[in-house]
């Protein structure tokens, strides 16, 4: 019995991993926190060969991971949990400061610069098929702008130009 289950699990994993190849995640990073700071954001670039949507995320470093959208209305910053982020086929969708992000909440400990944070992203196709992608997000300093680290020099306009 157990071996049948194991076989089934391995087979499923193989199917899932072949599906993963359709979704790429680039430049995943998390903003470092200071001690006692309970929340931070994760940012990345997502692309999928087929239409899909990011529906949830999880991480061993946080008991509560949510997908959020930041918006500015009349100079007021609002953050809201969103049910999903659409990924139209072959289009890069950026989770970045000033837009969508993955929120890590109720953190039991600080997220330290230089470490990596494992994230599991769950995507759902229009047909309702789910697949997950594992990502190792780099922890960047608290004072990072939105530009990728390699471009993030001083005077980096990219950090604020939305």
């Amino acid at each position: 019995m157990t071996s049948i289950f194991r076989f089934a699990a391995v087979a499923l994993a193989l199917i899932a991993s072949s599906a993963h190849a359709q979704i790429t995640v680039k430049d995943a990073w998390v903003r470092a926190t200071v001690p006692q700071q309970k929340a931070t954001g994760a940012f990345m670039q997502l692309q999928s060969a087929k239409d899909t949507r990011l529906v949830s995320a999880s991480s061993p470093v946080s008991p509560n991971v949510e997908v959020h959208e930041m918006s500015m209305q009349d100079n007021t910053m609002k953050m809201r949990q969103v049910p999903a982020v659409d990924l139209p086929a072959a289009k890069t969708v950026e989770l970045k400061p000033g837009g969508y992000h993955v929120m890590l909440l109720n953190l039991p400990g600080p997220i330290k610069e230089g470490e990596t944070v494992p994230l599991t992203l769950t995507f759902e196709s229009k047909a309702g098929e789910r697949e997950t992608v594992e990502v190792q997000a780099q922890v960047r300093p608290l004072n990072s702008g939105s530009a990728p680290a390699e471009h993030g020099g001083h005077g980096s306009k990219a950090g604020y130009a939305h």
């Binding site: 903003r31 006692q36 954001g41 949510e66 000033g98 909440l105 939105s146 604020y160």
Partner: protein, 205 residues
């Protein structure tokens, strides 16, 4: 139509010498007006009934008011440390503005007022602002003082529950004082460090 008539019509439409002189005069007045009245990237709120003062605590528990920063330009931003996005971006920009000001950077004080004093303990505030620049000061009050301060600045904030926690909607504007302690400008979040620095240079002249 004869050629003569056309000539006449053109003459009529040509501005008279007096008009030209008046226009020139107006342009001159306009120019000198520009020199006297400074043009800013931010919204000029000089003389408006807001942000006249505050009385909040710094992480060491010391009470701070505007008078403490006399002689410096002051930038005040309201936010909370659990904010993944707007607040760090605003503080990164503030640090960049300070750098852009060069030597005058020492004459700029950046204040971060928390709208979430329940979670933003003095320890978190201190470590948080120091991560951007050691000279930045985080300020807090109790719930009532926070509400009063926000009202004085016409800042809106609101606790909004999210799945497992709560977040704070808040006004994402930067308030700028001149070195005499008068509120002069409000800068928007979409504006760049360069735009901020240009305005501050004028206030620090």
């Amino acid at each position: 139509m004869t050629l003569e008539n056309t000539e006449m019509a053109t003459m009529k439409n040509r501005p008279s010498r007096r008009t030209l002189l008046t226009m020139g005069g107006l342009a001159l007045i306009g120019l000198s007006g520009c020199q006297r009245k400074m043009v800013f990237n931010g919204i000029d709120v000089s003389g408006s009934e807001q942000g006249r003062d505050f009385e909040l605590k710094d992480p060491e528990g010391k009470t701070r008011t505007l008078a403490d920063f006399k002689g410096k330009a002051v930038m005040v931003f309201f936010g909370f440390t659990q904010c993944p996005d707007v607040c760090p971006t605003a503080l990164v920009r503030a640090a960049e503005v300070k750098q852009l000001l060069g030597k005058d950077g020492d004459r700029l004080q950046v204040l971060f007022v928390t709208v979430d004093p329940e979670r933003d303990t003095p320890e978190v505030l201190k470590a948080y602002t120091a991560a951007f620049d050691p000279s930045f000061i985080g300020l807090y009050g109790d719930l009532q003082r926070t509400a009063e301060t926000a009202k004085e600045f016409k800042v809106h904030y609101e606790k909004v529950s999210t799945g497992s926690s709560y977040t704070m909607d808040h006004t994402a504007l930067t308030f700028v004082y001149d070195p005499s302690g008068k509120l002069r400008l409000v800068l928007r979040h979409q504006q760049s460090a360069q735009e901020f620095a240009q305005d501050l240079r004028k206030l620090l002249l």
